[in-house]
Symmetry: C2
Subunit: 336 residues, 2 copies
DNA sequence: CTTTGGAGCTAAATTGATTTAGCTAAGAAG
DNA sequence: CTTCTTAGCTAAATCAATTTAGCTCCAAAG
């Protein structure tokens, strides 16, 4: 009952392992293996249910058929959904996915990157931490295939798939302004992350272009794992202090914290305070009132990420990079 | 700049690859390698930043340092959170995690199981589909290490980690009864899944032991991907038809659909209808009113799953099985 | 002075594929 | 009748580790 190997096939077919290998790898024609032998081998493969040993193949070729997926936090709805899409797309191309969560911690991200490299993944889909540019550059130098997702490094020339954050945030701002809000607040986090910076910029620019006063930017910079402890309280204090009539949250978990804060203050949405958040979330859809948000096309981000990666892995031309900057969508609900 | 191999270390240390291998694998003492040589080798390993090639090692030993995680749907909050915990625990033991989502489809699950096997994962953490018992049995016969999670097969003697569904559902029922509800409904899905059956049984038993009438069990059996299309409408029709004064949902996505249904009916919670759901969810925490639920100890499920798996992988005694049936927790909020 | 035993190490096989270089036979060309 | 192709295949090296079986000293025992 041992596993069938290529040698077994070869022996039973009365040919050499070389020939079997050619057939398996579709090089039969190229290597002039006869119709007869091809059929004999293929029949045996089916009959014995032969599956090439991926370790042996990997050892020889350096390919593992695995994609490394590094996200901020796989338990976050946005990344979990992304992971789901990536799983399917990767599978379509014959790849498995190994995942890991950075928690937005530099050291952890660096270590995970090394682990993935050590595992010899064929390609990386990364949502890097702010200082992971060094590690990413190393990968690039090592000619590894990778795609950055959700955020990128302006200094680095890489494949990238993400959303137009400037546009998205601008849409949110315009919408609030159009509703007649006067004192508009902005709540954000981790300003060193490019995607957050862009959202802040897109929003403030648009607000500044009007004559409305933007109250203030709160950069919470809460370590990822402490958001629950801290964020709600800080938002409450901020809201009390500045009494804005509308607030924009730059990400869904801040938005959710914001809802908790507003709920505990007992303020009415949208009459006392208008709310818009970046990213959609089931909570926003079901909340009373439902929360207006800037939704990212998660499916497409995932699909394009895998597509870009696969193209990079198989690329002929090493200098062609993919940059998919997708349009976000303003989902207008009842919160402003 | 080629990768350093064990041979390089051996050459530079002036010893044979064998000796280096012994040192790397902690067999130095056992194999009587001298202090001197051990130190020389270890210094070189550090200096050259040597990392054993996982393919070569895997080929020789058959071990990959990888755990296969098969869940129903990685984008689901429950499974995503589980995945997050499992990632950390696995990492602690030096394992990577490959994930995949069954969507509760038999053929897909079967295929994924084969893929994981083909990848030679060292162990499996599975939330099996109802008919995956055949595939699981094959794994058992092949002496593979595995842990079932969330659901199990009564006919199969496997490691298992999950929650006491009977107790949880019973707690939900008792709570509703204690609040004085009279016409209690139950909404469930995929009745062929053991964990759902148990929840139904735990709930109905407890209700039946009182003198209150249980309206009816609705078994939606909606294919996983069609829940959004169908479930809300079906629940609305059901509620209109039977006018229950309380309803229990056996899982969080049904609960969420239920909330949508109730919302669109305009019924007031908890005055017109009481609501309890199995599984916690952010939506339940933030909903107005907040929804009472039976929460599973996700962290512990994940931790015990990995623990049980690692023990099985390293086991001395092949007949010891782990069965962790954890206590769920009734989180009383404002919905009944 | 031979034998025994153990400390300290290594040669070589093995794992299962891929791949390079090249062999053989048959027919065509000269 | 020799030489050249080319179709059709294979031997053997290779990837980077692990592991078995055993070699070489040297000291102690007999």
């Amino acid at each position: 009952m041992r596993k069938v190997s290529l040698r077994d096939i070869a022996a039973q077919a009365g040919v050499s392992p070389t020939t079997v290998s050619f057939v398996i790898n579709g090089k039969a024609r190229e290597m002039r293996v006869s119709r007869d032998v091809i059929q004999r081998i293929e029949a045996l493969i089916k009959k014995l249910n032969y599956q090439p040993n991926s370790m042996a193949r990997g050892l020889r070729t350096g390919k593992t058929g695995t994609i490394g997926l590094m996200v901020e936090d796989i338990s976050n709805h946005f990344f979990a959904t992304l992971a789901r899409v990536i799983e399917d797309e990767a599978d379509y191309f014959g790849y498995d996915v190994v995942y890991c969560s950075t928690e937005n911690k530099e050291a952890r991200a660096q270590k995970l990157l090394e682990t993935l490299t050590h595992r010899q993944v064929d390609g990386y889909i990364l949502t890097p931490t702010p200082e992971l540019d060094v590690g990413v550059q190393k990968l690039l130098q090592g000619k590894k295939s990778l795609v950055l997702m959700d955020r990128y490094f302006p200094s680095l020339n890489t494949n990238f798939v993400g959303v137009d954050n400037l546009l998205g945030a601008s849409m949110a701002a315009s919408h609030l302004l159009a509703q007649g809000y006067q004192k508009i607040a902005l709540v954000t986090t981790s300003s060193s992350q490019i995607q957050m910076q862009e959202r802040v910029r897109g929003f403030t620019n648009t607000v500044n272009e009007s004559n409305i006063a933007l109250i203030k930017q709160v950069h919470l910079r809460i370590p990822f794992e402490k958001i629950k402890e801290n964020a709600v309280g800080q938002i409450i204090r901020f809201l009390i202090k500045h009494k804005p009539d509308a607030v924009f949250f730059t990400t869904n978990y801040l938005g959710i914290c914001g809802l908790e804060a507003i709920k505990s203050l007992g303020w009415a949405i949208p009459s006392q305070i208008g709310v818009v958040s970046f990213d959609d979330h089931i909570v926003f859809r079901l909340y009373e009132p439902a929360i207006t948000c800037v939704a990212q096309p998660i499916m497409e981000i995932g699909k394009y990420a895998v597509k870009a990666l696969i193209q990079d892995i198989q690329k002929k031309d090493p200098d062609v990079l993919a940059r998919y900057v997708l349009k976000p969508q303003l989902i207008v609900r009842k919160s402003c």
